[in-house]
Symmetry: C2
DNA sequence: ACGTAACCACACCGGTCGGTATACTCGCAG
DNA sequence: CTGCGAGTATACCGACCGGTGTGGTTACGT
């Protein structure tokens, strides 16, 4: 699943850009092939269907986001996760690709639905782990997750760019109420 | 905008059901007309375009949700708003129609984008007002809004049906940390 | 009696949808 | 030198897309 041919890589790259910016249904296979500088034939030789390409797009995106998150979290406090989110959203102005994909394919038996669920489950575990390492109860991790998803939605669909900062403020209140460390993370 | 002909009403009703369940782009005008038991001609005579019908769908849905929220909030505490959300999501299992619509049309100049922004702004003001009436600072209202959006996303795309209850628990912690009333709302 | 708004049935338009087929070129390994 | 995987180019398929046009039928207000 990881070793693709050159033309295959160009196709996922083009599809990823187009799917994220315009939505899944709004982007046809013809446009994907043309943007990638290859042909529809190659697309179907490599991936078999548009649905499979959509699933791969989301898998790749999940990997990308997780590596971005993990790398930028080094040396940051728990509440600093919202600064990483703000950093991420500076370039990714169309919000959460998984929430967007679910809006289009949710409720069907699309192969990408599994990827969406896995991503959200991964994030939940990440936040719970973050809380555990800080000596906080799991409920605090769940709360962080809620704030994170809310901030992502409101920063994009809600048109409130300061939402991640507001989420950070809320998280710090919750953290300090738990009687833990003063969370002196570097912001920005 | 409010007084529609009988066939027009049937069309918005059919379109609303179909758009919410399957997404906007996934539903064609032919299907809408057929489901409504009318014709495409009537659809275009009443609304002019599919885009206008989409905008009207979201406006109607906003009205419906607000009346549902306001009615079910009577006699409830601040944190009870998450019980209302859980009640709402019991029937509306495809999540927030506005977030879903934004996923499909965000970034374009679609007439529905304004409706989406207005809905999110209305909710923000509602939560801030809720906090004010309880003698709490506006930041608490913003926090409630973040938890509300996060709970909606996680209950649907995230596959975590208990998300509204978890959001309520987080809200109660924040409320009690503010040294206010003990928030003895009836749940359910 | 007349005009008109609302509606239905149906045919039509150019374009695009996801997906397939045919035929050809290239590089490389046996 | 042969076979094969990867790639290109292009034509094609039925179905559907959003949107329009024509013509005819009610019901109602004047």
């Amino acid at each position: 699943m990881d070793t693709l041919t050159p033309a295959g890589e160009k196709l996922v790259a083009a599809a990823s850009r187009l799917f994220y910016r315009h939505g899944i249904r709004a982007v046809g296979v013809d446009l994907i092939a043309e943007t990638a500088g290859t042909t529809k034939k190659t697309l179907y030789d490599r991936f078999g269907s548009k649905d499979a390409l959509v699933a791969l797009y989301l898998e790749r995106r999940a990997e990308y986001w997780r590596s971005f998150l993990l790398e930028h979290m080094r040396g940051r406090s728990v509440a600093g996760v919202f600064d990483v989110l703000a950093l991420w959203l500076r370039d990714q102005d169309r919000g959460c690709a998984f929430v967007n994909a679910y809006a289009e394919i949710g409720g069907t038996d699309h192969p990408a639905e599994r990827v969406i669920r896995e991503e959200k489950a991964w994030m939940r575990e990440y936040f719970v782990g973050l809380a555990r390492e800080a000596g906080l109860p799991p409920e605090l991790g769940v709360e962080l997750h809620l704030l994170y998803e809310g901030a992502t939605v409101l920063a994009t669909a809600g048109g409130v760019p300061e939402a991640p900062a507001q989420a950070r403020a809320a998280a710090e209140r919750a953290l300090s109420a738990c009687g833990s460390a003063p969370t002196t993370g570097s912001a920005g």
